[in-house]
Every structure is written in C-alpha cells, then in structure tokens.
C-alpha cells in the first residue's frame, strides 16, 4: 500500500503544518511508514505552498508525490495546477471559500468533496485554523490514519492556548466529511 496525499494552497494557510501533523500522527501512532516533503517559494507569506505526504506499508524509496491519491486545494491557483494530476479515482477536497471553479477533471472519476473550509474556520473565530478544518476533512474522508491519532498530532504541534479552537476546527472538518 502506498498512498500519496497533497495539500496545496498559498503560503500562510498552514498547509505545511497540516502535512507535518498528519505525517507525525502516522509516524507516532501507526505501523505505517511515512515521508513528508514540501515545496514553497522564497516568501514566507503568499506565493504557492504545498505539502506532500506519502504513507506506505513498505519502505519509501522515492520520497516525492507523483500523482496524489488525495488532494486538498485551498486556492484557485492550486486547484488549477494540481487537480489535473490527481490519480484516477482519487479524492479531491476543495475549499470553496477560495476555489470558485474546478478545472476540467478529464473524466477521471474523482471523488470531489466541496466545503467552505476557510469560511468555516472564520465562523469558528479565526481563519488561521482553516488548515485544521481541512485536516479533519481529510482524515475522516480518507480513513488512513485514525482520527484520534491526528487529533493528538494536532495538539502536539499547535501553540499553547489555541488547543480548544483547534479541537473545534478539527471536529468541524470531521463533521463536514461525515455529512457529505
């Protein structure tokens, strides 16, 4: 088993953090192997940003994602750039707060999950937790890493004092995935 996941959007949306949390949960709480890579520009905010996670029951040789099984897109630019590369039959999670139009999916039979991820985070109090809402959605929709493992991973990595907000954000993502 080798599953490739990609989280793509803009710098500052916390997608690299989300990728690290998922990978860390996988490393600490499952028997699976995991590798996490990222791609970002020289800027610390803005610009394109991408986190990739590979989860495998075998040794991971080539550490980069080629065709994701699961893709989360949180900007229109990311949607346009990465949706066409998703594996046949893969899952695409779309933040409809920022992604207004899906590119031609070339009849690959994607499962598309649309949800206003950033809007939901704003509703909860701060848009900065959009990455954790996305992580909730991703975790529930894919079922590769147990929800409580990822939640524990979230609490390991977020700043002190923001635990409650992040818990709510994660739960909101999980709920959204269940309802879809």
């Amino acid at each position: 088993m080798r599953v490739e996941l990609r989280l793509a959007g803009a710098g500052g949306q916390g997608l690299i953090t989300a990728g690290i949390i998922l990978a860390e949960a996988c490393a600490k709480y499952t028997d699976l192997n995991v590798a996490q890579t990222q791609s970002y520009g020289p800027e610390s905010r803005g610009g394109a940003s991408r986190a990739d996670v590979i989860i495998s029951s075998n040794e991971i040789d080539y550490p980069e994602v080629k065709a994701p099984d699961v893709l989360v897109v949180m900007t229109q630019e990311a949607a346009d750039k990465y949706i066409p590369g998703v594996k046949d039959g893969g899952t695409v999670i779309v933040d409809t707060t920022y992604v207004k139009q899906l590119p031609e999916a070339q009849s690959k039979g994607f499962k598309v999950i649309e949800f206003p991820i950033s809007g939901k985070a704003r509703e909860l109090g701060r848009e900065i937790v959009a990455n954790i809402v996305a992580l909730g959605l991703l975790t529930e929709a894919t079922g590769i890493v147990p929800n409580d493992a990822v939640m524990a991973g979230v609490l390991n990595r977020v700043p002190k004092g923001t635990e409650e907000l992040n818990k709510q954000a994660f739960a909101a993502g999980v709920e959204a995935a269940k309802g879809l």
Partner: protein, 382 residues
C-alpha cells in the same frame, strides 16, 4: 493514544540531534535556506545541554568562530548552503591547515550564486573537494535519508576528531527538508570519539609533530586554556606551529596532512551495495538521487533486468576501490544520475576508463530525478 518509539524528524533536525549526541557544544552560523532549521534547532537545543549557539555577522566569521571554539577543546559545527559555503572556503582551508576538527554542513540548493534557495541540487560536489585552494584532502559524507543524516553527523564528528580535520556533511535540500519516520539509536548504540590529547608536558608539546599520535600523522591536539601554549597559523609551519619557508619541512608537513586522509581511504570510504553481485547495469548515485535509483533498481529487477546500485556514502575521498570492484565485473554500463551537470561522474569515468561505458543523467532546475528516468536509462543500457 499509545505512542510507539518512532518520531517524525526532518533531515536538518536529525543533523542537530546527531551532532549533540556526538558531543556538539558550539555552533556558529549565519542561517540560510535550506539549512536554516539546523541553526534554529541548534539555537533551541544547545543551551539545554550546556552548549553555546552564536549567530555571527556572516559565514566567514561563523567558520572562524567554529575554528576558534574547536581549538578551545569544544566540538564545533556550522551549517550553510551554497552561497555561504563559498564564503566559508577560506577558513575551511585554515581548518585543514591548522588541523582543526570541525563539521561543516552544506545543504545544497540550486546554484550558481544565490540560485534557487528552496530547490535541491547536488552542484557543490566538486566545490566540497576543491573549494579551498592548495593541495589538500577533505572528507565529505552524503546522507540519503533522515536516519542517515543523524548517523553520518555522528560519523562526521568522529572522523573530524580522529583525524584532526574538517569534515563536510554534504546534504541536499530534499534530505534536509524531508521528514521521515525514524527510530534514533540510543546513546549506548553509538560510538563517540574524541580527539587525542597530548601526553607530554606543555614544554615538550609539538602541535604539528610528524611522528606522533594514535593514527600515524595525526598529532595529539591540546585545548587552549589547558596550559599548552601553541601557535596556529594558515602559513606553512613546522612541528611547533610557527611559520617556515624551509622547503624540506614544508614538503613533509603538506604531505603529512594530505596523507593522514589519503592513506586511510579504506577506513574512510563507505558505500552501500544494493543488488550489485550479478548486476549487468550499475547505477552510481548518492544523496536524494540514490532514493530514486533504489526504486529504479527494484523496478528493473521486477522486470527481470539485472540492475544494481552502488551508493557512495563517503563522497570524498572518492570510493575508488568500490568502483574498481564494479569495473572488474565488466557491467554493460554504469549510470550516474546527479542533480548537476555531471560532477561525481568525472571520477567514476576515470576509474571505468575505456572498459565500461558511463552514462550520465543530469537535472539542473531543482527537481529530483525520477525513478522512471533512471529505469529507462537502465533498459536502454542492457
């Protein structure tokens, strides 16, 4: 949730963990992408183990500070990327000449010049070898996983201490930024080496003695502040450390600091052999590129093609003997994929001579060479 023993660790973080396990207690640096996490982690962790972190005004000063701290008896390291590595060359040469144990990490990004800061390359292979002027030997190690980044950092310190020499940990952005599941070895599993201290009283101490030391040609090193007063200079010096223009002494000393490395090539040169025994096509790859090569070799084997991988773990001194063994088996071809225009392929080609065709695969623009690219070269070669 029950945690297992594994952690998710980044290559750069693993370097700091390895360094501290090896005894690092002084880091001077000037942060630069993609090595910045090494400085960040060193700054966070060194104070907790009684060590010192200092951010210097530039890379030249960082390397100077590392030399100074090491002469004071403290295991020292700096980390940088291409542009900073260029600046460190002068004092790196000083460390070679002054025989100052230290570790210099270079997490390679695309060059030349400031190039592409966040993208991987392997373009500093020859700079690691010849970046500093004058005849000198250098040791450079090249990890291809996060766990190996830890282990080779420990090894780099051990070699630096044992041979009184700077050691370069030549990483690339892929391995530096890659996070992987790792179980780090415990303290008991690690061998930690320390420089040999003089056994003679201060008045008899010769810091650059020709004929002393556990390893021939590696004289014991006193620490400044322990009562041994001695002179360290980049000028060619005699056994007492003071400059000399005496050709006989100069020749002996220059030869000694070269031969202490070159005559120990067997001990220093480490490789990984993967399906080499019956290989008809041999891939020679290092660093992140070796990960793609490994996958390509596995895929080739699944298709019934006898491919193998030789992975130099030690980049310098060059793994001459392992390559000669490959040559002796007369494979149909040797393939050398590199994220540069072809650097390690040069000594590979020198060893293979006219006996074995050497094919290079090169990528320049900050993208890891993919397994399929190597696999198709393997298929073409058989």
């Amino acid at each position: 949730m029950a945690e297992n023993k594994a952690r998710l660790l980044q290559g750069n973080e693993a370097v700091v963990e390895g360094a501290i396990a090896a005894g690092l207690r002084f880091f001077a640096g000037y942060p630069i992408t993609p090595s910045t996490e090494i400085a960040e982690q060193a700054a966070a962790k060194l104070p907790t183990v009684g060590g010192k972190f200092i951010q210097m005004e530039d890379e030249i000063a960082s390397m100077a500070a590392v030399c100074g701290a090491s002469l004071a008896g403290v295991k020292s390291m700096t980390a940088t990327s291409g542009p900073g590595f260029s600046l460190k060359q002068e004092n790196l040469g000083f460390a070679v000449k002054g025989e100052i144990p230290c570790v210099v990490v270079n997490v390679q990004r695309v060059g030349p010049s400031t190039g592409m800061p966040t993208s991987p390359a392997q373009g500093d292979v020859m700079q690691a070898r010849w970046g500093s002027h004058g005849d000198h030997e250098i040791v450079a190690l090249c990890p291809s996983s996060v766990e190996e980044a830890f282990r080779l950092t420990v090894e780099a310190f051990n070699i630096a201490e044992e041979y009184r020499t700077p050691v370069i940990l030549l990483m690339d952005e892929v391995i530096g930024h890659l996070r992987e599941k790792v179980v780090l070895p415990s303290k008991e599993e690690l061998t930690i080496k320390h420089r040999e201290k003089p056994s003679v009283p201060p008045e008899q101490y010769k810091p650059f003695a020709m004929d002393q030391g556990r390893i021939p040609g590696v004289p014991p090193l006193a620490a400044y502040g322990e009562g041994y007063r001695f002179h360290v200079t980049g000028l060619t010096h005699g056994e007492d450390g003071f400059p000399t223009n005496n050709p006989a002494i100069a020749e002996k000393q220059i030869k000694r600091i070269n031969e202490k490395i070159s005559s120990n090539r067997k001990a220093l040169c480490k490789v990984e052999r993967f399906f080499l025994n019956d290989a008809e096509v041999v891939v020679v790859a290092y660093g992140a590129t070796a990960r793609s090569a490994r996958k390509a070799v596995k895929d080739a084997r699944e298709q019934g093609i006898k491919a193998g991988l030789l992975r130099p773990i030690t980049i310098w001194p060059f793994v001459e003997d392992a390559l000669s063994e490959v040559k002796a088996n007369l494979p149909k071809a040797v393939i050398v994929p590199e994220m540069n225009l072809g650097q390690l392929v040069l000594p590979v080609r020198r060893v293979m001579g006219d006996s074995v065709p050497v094919i290079q695969i090169n990528k320049l623009a900050g993208q890891l060479i993919e397994p399929e690219e190597i696999l198709s070269a393997i298929k073409e070669a058989v």
